[in-house]
């Protein structure tokens, strides 16, 4: 979970300067360009708004409802990530209604989804006095593949002893990344990044309905049988660690993942002439993950399979195999 990301204008089209719109947020007046979101106006004032499904490089889908604020005159709360400012708007970001709804969103998520690898989750759960356990003890994990077969419009009556969860085993069907959907908050970011917002590969979509909705390939086939090109741009936008490079997943599984002692170095991807900025995360002399900065004008955080995963040769050690080692060149 991120708080009030700086708003980067990523539109590639040059526009005429926009008219300024004046509004009031938590009693403070602020003027922002027409078309700015309430979240953007809050950022301009330094007011922090928690978000989960929002990312400055993706079209806002406003589904997590964590960023809701109260707009005077509106019947219900509005998502600040997508609602644009209007002149004279009066916005409250800290009212009781806002706090309550955010608390409910956090509790509903924490009681049904594994948030242990979601950055900032614990801080928010504390800040909003959340007690996810009050819905009951979490239901045991379902067997692999079971959630995908539930019929839309049907469900088995709840077991009063448990609170339903989406817990399930992680999907390990390829060498490059892991899909641990027990951690998925259904923020739609991976679908957007794989689809029209960035990659245009359309390997995954939201399938099923209601609580049983989930991210899936067609017919839930394993990733190698799908349209996936392993760019890993879905990993880059995942806010919860549900999608994770296998290198990171394995280290975490061994308890060896240590972000505090990692160094982060920006370099240029050596593969082609585009020259994407590559951020190498190095732990104990090994590259453990490659990313690209979200605010990089060329990549917007995206890479291809080579940039994202094709760095293992760097740390190939004698006797470990790899290109050349087996005599095939």
């Amino acid at each position: 979970m991120t708080t009030a990301a700086p708003i980067v204008q990523l539109s590639r089209r040059a526009r005429a300067p926009k008219a300024m719109v004046e509004l009031n947020v938590d009693g403070q007046s602020v003027s922002v360009p027409d078309g700015t979101t309430i979240l953007g106006a809050c950022a301009a004032l330094g007011i922090e708004i928690p978000t989960l499904c929002y990312l400055e490089t993706l079209r806002p889908v406003n589904v997590c409802r964590l960023c809701v604020v109260e707009v005077e005159g509106a019947r219900v709360l509005v998502p600040s990530c997508s609602r644009t400012v209007e002149a004279g708007m009066k916005v409250k970001t800290r009212s009781d209604r806002v706090r309550h709804t955010r608390k409910m969103v956090l509790e509903l998520l924490a009681s049904s989804v594994d948030l242990t690898t979601t950055p900032g989750a614990n801080e928010l759960l504390t800040e909003y006095d959340c007690d996810p356990a009050r819905f009951g003890p979490p239901a045991p994990a379902s067997a692999a593949g079971v959630r995908e077969t539930r019929l839309p419009g049907h469900h088995t009556p709840p077991n009063p002893d448990f609170a339903a969860t989406i817990a399930q085993p992680a999907t390990l069907d390829n060498d490059l990344y892991v899909r641990d959907y027990g951690k998925c908050v259904l923020c739609y970011k991976c679908v957007e990044a794989c689809g029209p917002d960035h990659q245009n590969t359309f390997a995954i979509a939201v399938a099923g309905r209601g609580f049983d909705a989930h991210i899936s390939t067609e017919l839930a086939v394993p990733l190698p049988d799908s349209a996936c090109v392993y760019c890993g741009n879905c990993i880059a936008v995942c806010p919860t660690g549900a999608l994770m490079a296998k290198s990171e997943f394995d280290l975490r599984a061994r308890g060896a993942w240590n972000e505090a002692c990692q160094t982060i170095t920006d370099t240029i991807c050596p593969y082609c002439g585009v020259g994407c900025t590559l951020t190498l995360h190095v732990q104990d002399g090994d590259i453990v993950k490659a990313t690209s900065p979200l605010d990089n004008a060329i990549t917007l955080g995206n890479l291809c399979i080579k940039g994202r995963f094709g760095w293992r040769y760097v740390q190939q050690r004698a006797g470990e195999g790899g290109p050349g080692a087996d005599g095939r060149g």
């Binding site: 589904v63 964590l66 219900v76 409910m104 969103v105 509903l108 689809g195 609580f211 899936s216 799908s226």
Partner: protein, 628 residues
């Protein structure tokens, strides 16, 4: 778009069904056979094919209707024809309850297990069917798929089928070359058994519904229902049909909107938005084209008024849509009809075809230079698609996930264009408005709720059915019309599952928008469902909670998880396994409800707690349990 397709081949049946729906493929580029010399030189696809996405749902429905389920190859062929990525199409196919992506028998009986039918014995009926036919198709206890033999007949539970005037009801769907769909009223376990054994269905129950006010003087919206042949344009025209359209052409678009404004007509789907303001907002948009959408996805449990208009006065819907399109400057209209209304589909399709042949749709309508045409789209089992923006998404070939508003449909609606979306009953009101004049129309009803309204009276009443009364008529008077205030009346549900319960001592409430608002309840879509003391209200409440859990699209967190937590809390109360006592469960429900109401994207989540809250606070349903 260069997409990776599914390898599996469609069966001959699937290929035929899709080709019948979309027309044959032109070349190997869009799913045809390879080998034509031309294909080596011409490429079809990309932008041209990209515009076909909106045919995804009709194509999937065609396969479903032909085979009874959509196989890997069938899905793949649809994707190939429409250039839709398979993952995307999979997301759509798994969203709609009437589509199946696993083998399902050709003949399936969908038995309504919802609240109106429960008030008339559906629980007992369901156990009877379980005994005589066997268990319903659903997923297993862990949510895993239960393998079903494609060749055996089976039955499934269904949410409200809009046949509450003939409860308990069912819908029989049989796939095949000439697929059959039949509404069945007053179902018995014996009848269900016969149907599952392949017995004949007889006449569609929706063709002969109870019409309790048949021929009564003073009817406006229902005056042709049951009186004028709904399959004959000539009969319709003799009964003042198309007089209002003629009047509209005299008045001009602004004149029509002026009359509708003078009539103070507001939306009858539940949102009460002023119709004239909606049409004016669309009319003045510079972006083109403008679309008119008739929302006939009537799925609010207990609602069946639109069904009666669609099956028994379809030309009125066509004429009213033409007038609305004329007023709002729309050149194309869509009827989004709920998939569970086969007879309505048949009659509407026939009415549109007849109107087109008679020059009442198409170019130069009634000799004017106004051109307009109507296309009918069918839903596939999703309550949420009654929400207007989810409905647009569905027509566009996507999952029925509501959009955040603003932008409002008048500005950016269907296909991103200015769209006027109106409920069937709202549209049909424009006919009497133009024939009488808006000011005269407004003299009926109350100052703020003008005209008449259709009420869907169901449950424990002597004569269930659709009743047309002036706005402001009391609930007691409506009950008198339907055979008297039910004996042992426990509660009345106003407005459907998204509405509220009121107590038996509150039935003197006038049924107007202002009076119901004042009394902290709602007319919603006109549902009046009576429960007498033979009904277990706790069971009704559990069903309402289960309904919202089933029908939530799953997009936003408050609704997706909130509806689950609400149902769990009610089940804990019902089973006596409360966490921290009953009052703490009720407080928890209140908190969940407030979060859903304030935080959800659309009306489904925002109203998912309304009925539960009214049961707790108005009916004091749980008080006795507290005393225990």
């Amino acid at each position: 778009m260069d997409i990776k397709l599914i390898d599996a081949e469609p069966t001959e049946e699937e290929r035929e069904a899709v080709d019948l729906c979309l027309g044959p493929p032109r070349s190997a580029w869009d799913g045809g056979s390879r080998g034509s010399e031309r294909d080596a030189h011409i490429a079809y696809g990309n932008r041209e094919v990209g515009g076909l996405r909106h045919l995804l749902l009709p194509a999937l429905e065609a396969v479903q209707a032909r085979v009874g389920w959509i196989s890997e190859g069938g899905l793949g062929y649809v994707c190939e024809r429409l250039n839709v990525p398979p993952a995307d199409a999979w997301g759509v196919a798994t969203f709609y309850a009437l589509l199946s992506t696993t083998p399902r028998p050709r003949r399936v009986l969908h038995v309504c297990d919802d609240i109106a039918c429960r008030a008339r014995g559906a629980r007992e009926l369901v156990s009877g069917i379980e005994e005589s036919v066997g268990p319903a198709i659903t997923h297993g206890p862990d949510g895993d798929h239960v393998v079903v033999d494609h060749d055996v007949v089976a039955w499934m539970h269904s949410p409200c089928l809009g046949l509450c005037d003939m409860a308990p009801a069912a819908l029989l769907i049989e796939a095949g070359t000439s697929p059959a769909e039949h509404s069945i009223g007053t179902l018995t376990a014996h009848h269900a058994r016969r149907l599952c054994d392949g017995g004949s269905t007889g006449v569609d129950a929706a063709a002969t519904p109870p019409i309790p006010q048949l021929g009564a003087p003073g009817l406006s919206l229902l005056r042709r229902v049951g009186v004028v042949d709904p399959t004959s344009l000539a009969a319709y025209r003799e009964a003042e049909g198309y007089d209002a359209m003629g009047r509209a052409l005299e008045l001009g678009a602004e004149g029509v909107i002026h009359e509708v404004a003078a009539a103070k007509l507001v939306g009858r789907g539940g949102a009460l938005f002023p119709t004239a303001r909606k049409w004016e907002a669309v009319r003045t948009q510079t972006s083109t084209p403008h679309y008119l959408v008739c929302n006939a996805d009537e799925s609010e449990p207990g609602t069946f008024k639109d069904r009666l208009l669609l099956t028994h006065d379809p030309f009125a819907v066509v004429e009213a849509m033409t007038i609305a399109a004329f007023a709002a400057g729309c050149d194309r209209g869509f009827v989004y009809l709920r998939g569970e209304y086969p007879l309505a589909h048949e009659r509407m399709a026939d009415a549109v075809a007849q109107a087109r042949r008679a020059g009442l749709l198409g170019a130069n309508i009634l000799g004017s230079d106004f051109a307009f045409d109507i296309e009918i789209r069918r839903g596939a089992g999703a309550y949420i698609c009654g929400e207007e923006t989810a409905l647009f998404e569905s027509i566009e070939g996507k999952r029925g996930e509501p959009r955040n508003k603003p932008p409002f449909p008048a500005e950016r609606g269907l296909f991103g264009k200015p769209t006027a979306a109106n409920n069937v009953e709202t549209l049909v009101n424009v006919l009497p408005i133009l024939l009488q004049g808006g000011a005269t129309y407004a003299t009926t009803g109350t100052a703020q709720s003008t005209g008449t309204r259709l009420f869907c009276v169901s449950g424990a009443v002597r004569n269930p059915g659709v009743y047309e009364v002036a706005c402001g008529t009391t609930l007691r008077a409506l009950f008198e019309l339907s055979g008297g205030v039910p004996d042992g009346l426990q509660a009345v549900l106003l407005g459907g599952a998204a509405g509220t319960f009121i107590r038996a001592d509150e039935i003197d409430i006038p049924l107007s928008h202002e009076d119901t608002r004042l009394a902290n309840t709602t007319l919603g879509s006109g549902v009046v469902m009576a429960f007498d003391d033979t009904t277990d209200m706790h069971d009704i409440l559990l069903r309402i909670a289960g309904f919202f859990r089933d029908e939530s699209c799953g997009q936003c967190v408050p609704c997706r998880v909130g509806t689950v937590r609400q149902e769990e809390a009610l089940h804990r109360i019902a089973s006596g396994k409360t966490r921290g006592g009953l009052s703490s469960e009720l407080a928890l429900l209140d908190e969940i409800g407030a979060g859903m109401k304030d935080g959800s994207i659309c009306g489904l989540g925002q109203t998912a707690y309304a009925a539960v809250e009214s049961a707790a606070k108005r009916l004091r349903l749980f008080d006795m349990r507290i005393a225990k």
